[in-house]
Amino acid sequence: MKKIFIVLLVLYFSVISCATKKGIVARKSTISPGSRIVVIANHPNNIKNVIIARFMNKNYSVKAFNASDLYTIEDVYDIKDFKKVAYVQPLKNDNMISFEKAVENIYKLHIYNYELSKAEALSDMRSKYGTQYLVLMELKEWQKVSWARAIDLTNMEVVWVENYPAQYKDTLETVVDHFISSMSGQ
């Protein structure tokens, strides 16, 4: 009886852990070969080359834009300074409570504006590079979940998402090929 319980417990936890790693895919429209895309992946250059090569082999027009991030707010505008401003000064506690809302509003405004700045940068990507789709990709090692997402830059809509737990037999190329097939609906 005890053994059965332990086996069931192990099974339960393996099911739970699988649930967090399971693959998902959803597609609103397909991105057919020939489309002009930008692929952004945060990997060493040799891996980036492999990724881009797989797309090129499938006749996608890959634009030369491959930054790991579009905008790093910490570099240019340290919003934490405001928080420091709020606490460094030896004011009374009541004053701090009053000031807290203003500090929170600074953060909120910053996030509203941060998302605007990113969207404007992406809009430039469409107008200056002639890009139709932005493909984001992060590849993980075996048993971990690699993910990819495609955004139509004409309307900023998410058109395809996939989480793919890499299989034992998978290689870097097969995972990228899997994403390309899924994205193109083939």
Binding site: A19, K101, A102, V103, N105, I111, L122, L136, R149, E157
Partner: protein, 340 residues
């Protein structure tokens, strides 16, 4: 011997609904409206309501008078004096085309959080509908711990999500929305990672949303803010205090203007985006709270304090499905037979 469940009936006090039209012919409605809301609310909810005239009597015993309008920071003290659980007051303005705009403020005693919402309807033909709508909002807010729905978000509409999720989790929630027939606008998900998503403290700030018509906000009492001014402070201290004053001016008093400017730009940058949906999940992803802004009107339209999926083994997928069910299900008052 007969120990039953004993609970105190909450007390809901209704203040005046101030006439802001400038036309004294409408003054009689300052009491009629809150009386109607109070009666309607009492019919739906097992509580003790206190109407404006009675409330004024209670206050007069304490050498006070019921005011037509209260500043936010006065609410904690006035509710304490009244001894109520919820205080409702507001104002109305008759608009052209025989419509009326009613703005109500709800303050739950001890919460330090204030909820304001606006309702517009036809003065004569729809007056009972307005009362019903307002009763529903008050009921939802009080009974469902801060739930508010001005309108549901139906499949087919476009939703931009701001969450505290990792990229793989973001894909899960995007997939569920796509499967449910929504268009998803890549607001947060247009980069490999999002530096603020993992910061739960920053995300928690979005619980409070201030918009022109509807707002859920914390009360700041700047009257308690003391600044000692004088020559003995020195120039540096005076400059510092001036900076503080400016920060308060820009980021507290004029915050709504700045945010509206940002949202106005969203209309151009994300032209397809109908709704901005903030969804912040707990660490186990088994529950979340949400806030939604209609990008076109820049108004807060939806708040839910705690969405939890039913059943065992709930996960992000199930919680998201429940979230989708919540946002697309219109709210309604319970059946009369179910009155608590």
């Amino acid at each position: 011997m007969l120990s039953g469940t004993v609970y105190a009936r909450p007390t809901v006090a209704f203040g005046y609904l101030a006439n802001k039209s400038g036309n004294p012919n409408f003054n009689y409605m300052e009491i009629i409206f809150p009386n109607s809301f109070a009666s309607s609310f009492e019919a739906e909810y097992d509580c003790k309501v206190v109407k404006p005239l009675k409330l004024n009597e209670l206050l007069e015993k304490k050498q006070l008078t019921l005011q037509k309008y209260y500043q936010d920071h006065e609410l904690p003290q006035i509710t304490k004096t009244i001894g109520c659980d919820l205080f409702v007051f507001g104002y109305f303005i008759p608009l052209p085309d025989n419509t009326i705009k009613i703005v109500l403020t709800l303050y739950e005693s001890g919460s330090n959080q204030i909820f304001t919402f606006t309702n517009i309807g036809r003065m004569e033909t729809e007056i009972f509908k307005i009362i019903d709508r307002i009763t529903l909002v008050v009921f939802d807010f009080f009974e469902k711990n801060g739930f508010f729905m001005a309108k549901p978000i139906m499949p087919g509409s476009s939703v931009g999500l701001i969450t505290n999720l990792s990229p793989t989790e973001l894909n899960v929630i995007y997939a569920e929305f796509l499967k449910a027939g929504y268009s998803v606008i890549a607001i947060q998900g247009n980069e490999l990672d999002c530096y603020y998503a993992c910061d739960n403290k920053i995300m928690s700030y979005f619980q409070y949303i201030t918009t022109d018509a509807n707002s859920y906000d914390i009360i700041t009492d700047w009257s308690k803010f003391t600044m000692t001014l004088g020559r003995w402070e020195g120039k540096k201290k005076q400059e510092w205090q001036e900076d503080l004053r400016k920060i308060y001016d820009v980021y507290d008093r004029n915050y709504k203007v700045l945010k509206n400017t940002a949202l106005e730009k969203y209309k151009n940058v994300y032209p397809m985006c109908d709704y901005l949906l903030f969804a912040v999940f707990d660490s186990s992803r088994k529950s979340c709270w949400i806030r939604a802004i209609d990008v076109k009107t820049k108004q807060l339209i939806l708040m839910h304090p705690n969405i939890v999926a039913s059943g065992l083994n709930t996960d992000l997928e199930k919680t998201t499905r429940q979230l989708i069910t919540v946002i697309q299900t219109p709210t309604a008052l319970p059946q009369k037979s179910k009155k608590k």
